[in-house]
């Protein structure tokens, strides 16, 4: 079920009723946008595909194309103050423009199909559609032109530049065309990273908690309590290190591969925990240095998928080296941790 767009009105254009979105986002839009950043309802946060009007549209108004992930749609919508435009929303299965373009759902076929379905040629006098630049990896502009007669114009990467782009006669500056990965960009991604791995982390914590009770004199629940809490603290620190600290500090961490960046943060975190006397016996301390570094390394490596500049070839090369080392480190770390129960 798609989200309802609130305060929708209608415009009658060439005898057809077309939904018109209000000028401003409302509180519920902002709340929903915040929630999906925490992975809440992220996969269900969609708008109905089709055509929408913004402002006082007529047959000469520009046509902007967007995805049906509501966060994408709202991000575009809120930047259009004072503009009269049509928005075509493609059915990207609730996925943002760039990711959908990678999968091909924001693609040539869907554009041609959707233009036909909304009968765009009857709505506008011109034959131009403006796509977000990041849609380009799913769309062959020349194919769209050949198949439905509409010329594709690639707009800026970010919706906040769209007005500027139109004012300049549909010309984008280099700045508008470049993808960045700023501290803020990384910051808004970390809650999802944190929530997504959470269930695995809780499972592993529970297992370590139970195992913590084992000792040479049998099983003790008191021991499980004291050692278990220590294990949970260390593991949680490892999780924070790989899922939050490493992504945030990314450009300032040593090396190019994400797994190495994650390893370095994890190592430092482990040393800090040791200095705070939170790592237990000498053997367990060594175990934690291995385990925290490797958990952090693994999680940081997984952040390649959220980053905006890693290539598949590069990730494969990184993994060929990192994954075997990570496996060895986990085996050694767990071995020492278990041995620590008996000495």
């Amino acid at each position: 079920m798609a989200e309802k767009i609130r305060n929708l009105s209608f415009v009658v254009h060439n005898g057809r009723e077309i939904p018109r979105v209000p000028m401003e986002l409302c509180f519920a839009d902002r709340l929903g946008g915040w929630a999906v950043r925490w992975s809440i309802r992220r996969m269900k946060y969609t708008v109905e595909p089709g055509i929408y009007a913004v402002g006082n549209t007529d047959g000469d108004s520009v046509v902007l194309v967007s995805a049906n992930y509501k966060l994408s749609f709202d991000t575009l919508h809120k930047e259009l103050k004072g503009l009269d435009a049509w928005i075509i929303v493609l059915d990207t299965k609730g996925v943002n423009v760039w990711c959908a373009a990678g999968k091909g759902t924001f693609g040539t076929d869907e554009i041609v199909h959707r233009i036909g379905l909304v009968e765009l040629e009857k709505i506008v006098n011109h034959r131009k559609i403006i796509l977000p630049q990041l849609g380009a990896s799913g769309v062959a502009a020349h194919e769209v032109k050949k198949r439905c007669g509409f010329s594709v114009i690639y707009g800026p990467v970010r919706a906040c530049d769209i007005i500027e782009f139109l004012k300049a006669g549909m010309k984008a500056t280099q700045q508008m065309r470049q993808v960045h990965f700023s501290l803020y960009d990384r910051l808004v991604l970390t809650p999802v990273e944190f929530v997504m791995g959470g269930k695995y982390m809780i499972f592993i914590m529970a297992v370590l908690f139970i195992l913590s009770g084992i000792s040479t004199s049998g099983y003790s629940s008191d021991l499980a309590m004291s050692n278990g809490i220590r294990s949970v603290v260390n593991l949680f620190a490892a999780y924070l290190s790989g899922a939050v600290i490493a992504p945030l500090l990314l450009p300032w961490l040593p090396g190019r591969s994400f797994s190495f960046k994650g390893f370095s943060v994890g190592f430092v975190v482990a040393v800090v925990l040791f200095a705070l006397k939170l790592t237990g016996s000498r053997l367990e301390t060594v175990a934690w240095i291995f385990l925290i570094s490797v958990v952090s390394s693994f999680l940081a490596m997984n952040f390649t998928g959220a980053s905006t500049y890693t290539s598949l070839s590069g990730v494969k090369k990184e993994m060929r080296v990192a994954v075997p080392l990570q496996i060895i480190a986990v085996i050694l770390g767990m071995g020492m941790w278990i041995a620590g129960r008996f000495v």
Binding site: R42, M43, K93, V95, N96, C99, A101, G102, K103, Q133, L134, A136, S137, G138, V139, A140, A141, H142, Y154, V157, A172, Q174, R177, Q178, V179, H180, F181, M196, L250, P251, R256, S257, F258, M301, N302, T304, G305, A306, S307, T308, Y309, T310, S311, L312, S313, G314, V315, K316, K317, E318, M319
Partner: protein, 96 residues
């Protein structure tokens, strides 16, 4: 601003300068600005910044650009390994 650079000398991007008709669309769509137009031909000026998204190649009407495009995502590579076949990006289409 110069963008971040990932591993060097790994990308699969190739440009066949003889086929290029100089339309400049590759330079337009590239999110990392690795193409420049010189004397009506595209030139790769910063191959290491390429993330293999495939936008240039898909939009090249004369098929002058070749790149093994895909998502640079470790989770996708794992999924591809376990399920067999290509690295598949589907963390954003999981039904929860």
């Amino acid at each position: 601003m110069k963008g971040q650079i990932y591993l060097k000398n790994v990308v699969t991007l190739e440009l066949d300068i003889d086929k290029c008709v100089g339309c400049g669309l590759c330079a337009t769509v590239c999110p990392h600005r690795i193409f420049e137009m010189k004397e009506n031909k595209a030139v790769i000026v910063d191959a290491d910044a390429c993330m293999e998204c495939g936008a240039c190649s898909v939009n090249c009407s004369v098929e002058a650009i070749n790149v093994k495009s895909g998502v640079g995502c470790a989770v996708a590579v794992f999924k591809g390994m376990f399920r067999g076949g290509q690295a598949s990006c589907d963390c954003s289409s999981e039904s929860d």
